[in-house]
Symmetry: C2
Subunit: 338 residues, 2 copies
């Protein structure tokens, strides 16, 4: 397998994340020898631009991935389970954006800013984490490494993009209909989305009361940060925003540090841009996080509910399609060819 | 002063809350003898419907309130400070929706479901709390009374209505422009609002890092619940929703109770409707809270971040204009004439 100027395949090339994968490879001058694009039967025959050429979108077959050195999957768990093992058998390294393999003990779950060292242990598959887990990990890890985190409480403000391009279109269409006074029946998401928000629409576990998204974020954050027992409480909410997730974080540390010290630690960490201007009331916002590779971090202050002074509060925002998905996968691929 | 079939005045009758005050009085068959409506010079000459009649909107003068038994103020702190004392001097009881008097030691700050007994101690002015404080208090108080709350962590999802009718119009207009691909310059709120969210745009205290809204909610919750030292950590965020606020609450109790017991306590409490359907993934949403007097409460579960089992998580939604403002004020007025 040659990972110097590799052959790259994108599986799920026409989806919201697939489109961003192509854009990331182009914008970051990824040194690939060839790029092949795969999608479902529905998209076959289309072509997508890459470096000035129109590339055909092919229907995925097991043999189709035979020539790939790196296969970037963003096509859901069923496709990943169905095709990733064969791709690995053919010699490819798979970076998979679905949840299919994330919690497998033999599969590294990687946010390069946090645990790029884990990449080396792969046996063919590397998992790209859940978008909230990635964005939270980028902000939490520097504090965990420097001071130690003993408890996290999070409330999310998640964009439509996490549910795919169709959900983004539904948010636009539902909102347009609302403003025009027209009825609109949702077909992608379970609840009305125009000027509305709702608890994340993954199945809720009857015992814990957690929904699937919340369970993923907790398990994945622990694995990424190698903190298997970190206590995490999270509420995942879908808000009428198009493509960047925000998170209100309350972080209990092993010892008290001043907010200014936390700000310095975070400002020096990779993948973070501090947006913390009290004077201008300017803090992380999804419209400014959209299209950015960095996670925006601000509202860095003491948590008023912890008299011990060990807890800090933060507000973060990150582009769900970029750092929360495509960019993180491409960053992993870049480290494969270093 | 006759509080049996009182003369009522509304100050700020044409605003978002003022309009709802009129509607609440009508819908609840408030037994008033007469209603007079006041607003600023800008609205003078308009008339608003009440019980089938058009009532003129008058310009507020000190003498204008001379005949009022109850004056419902929703016109901001400056107007409240300027006119409420004179109204009291003329014999009126003022229920004020601004923050002008809320933290005054001699002024009761009332959510009837929590502390209606405080009404009796008024000296002419009763303060209607901040909308987030009201909605949170309705959900927190039953747990505090039954078990005792030792810590609260909250993240809010606040609607445009909290910034008034002009902010609601700006959200609609900014979103319409975004969908049409037109530029839009915000004039009411500081940040772009179309498919965006931002930290609450009240001034930020340099020492605590809290914004004005957060400080209000903390102080007011403590006063309403008579829990002067309750540790509260809160992040206030404005989301692109029109008129209902949602809050993710993490509540540490004095002792562990099962989520089912908390649900029973909350279900039996006044002003609450439980919306907690795991099967249907149906939880409190602003579109269903809008127009409702009750606060919707759901996602009642253990907080995964507290191994002691003493912490619960909830998600609540309440109509900012009704229970968060107008309805609460009218409920106070109803108790004045009981």
């Amino acid at each position: 397998m040659s990972l110097n100027h590799p052959s790259v395949a994108i599986v799920g090339a026409t989806g919201a994340v697939g489109t961003e994968l192509i854009a990331c490879l182009e914008q970051r001058d990824f040194p690939l020898r060839s790029l092949r694009l795969y999608a479902s039967q529905r998209s076959a025959g289309r072509s997508l631009m890459f470096r000035g050429d129109g590339l055909p979108v092919e229907v995925l077959t097991e043999d189709g991935l035979a020539g790939a050195d790196i296969a970037l999957f963003s096509a859901g768990s069923a496709t990943a389970r169905g095709f990733a093992p064969a791709a690995v058998g053919h010699g490819a390294v798979v970076v998979d954006n679905s949840s299919a393999f994330r919690m497998d003990a033999g599969v590294p779950l990687v946010v390069p800013e946090v645990n790029e060292g884990a990449i080396a242990s792969h046996r063919g598959i590397i998992a790209n984490p859940n978008c909230v887990a990635i964005i939270a990990a980028v902000a939490l890890w520097p504090l965990h490494r420097a001071v130690g985190i003993s408890r996290v409480i999070a409330a999310t403000y998640q964009a439509a993009s996490g549910a795919g391009a169709a959900a983004m279109a539904e948010l636009r269409n539902a909102t347009g209909a609302y403003l025009a006074g027209r009825a609109f029946a949702p077909t992608v998401l379970r609840h009305p989305y125009a000027f509305n928000l709702f608890s994340h629409d993954t199945a809720v576990d009857r015992d814990t009361g957690a929904n699937g998204e919340e369970t993923k974020v907790v398990q994945e954050l622990r694995k990424i940060m190698q903190a298997p027992n970190l206590p995490i409480g999270i509420t995942c909410i879908r808000v009428p925003v198009l493509r960047a997730h925000s998170i209100a974080l309350t972080v209990e540390l092993a010892r008290p540090i001043p907010p200014a010290a936390a700000r310095e630690i975070l400002a020096a960490a990779p993948g973070i841009r501090i947006v913390d201007d009290a004077e201008g009331n300017h803090y992380p916002m999804p419209n400014e996080a959209s299209g950015q590779g960095d996670v925006l971090v601000g509202r860095i202050r003491r948590d008023g509910s912890d008299p011990s002074g060990r807890s800090l509060a933060l507000f973060v925002a990150g582009d769900q399609l970029l750092k929360g998905a495509a960019l993180n996968a491409v960053q992993i691929a870049e480290r494969l060819i270093m």
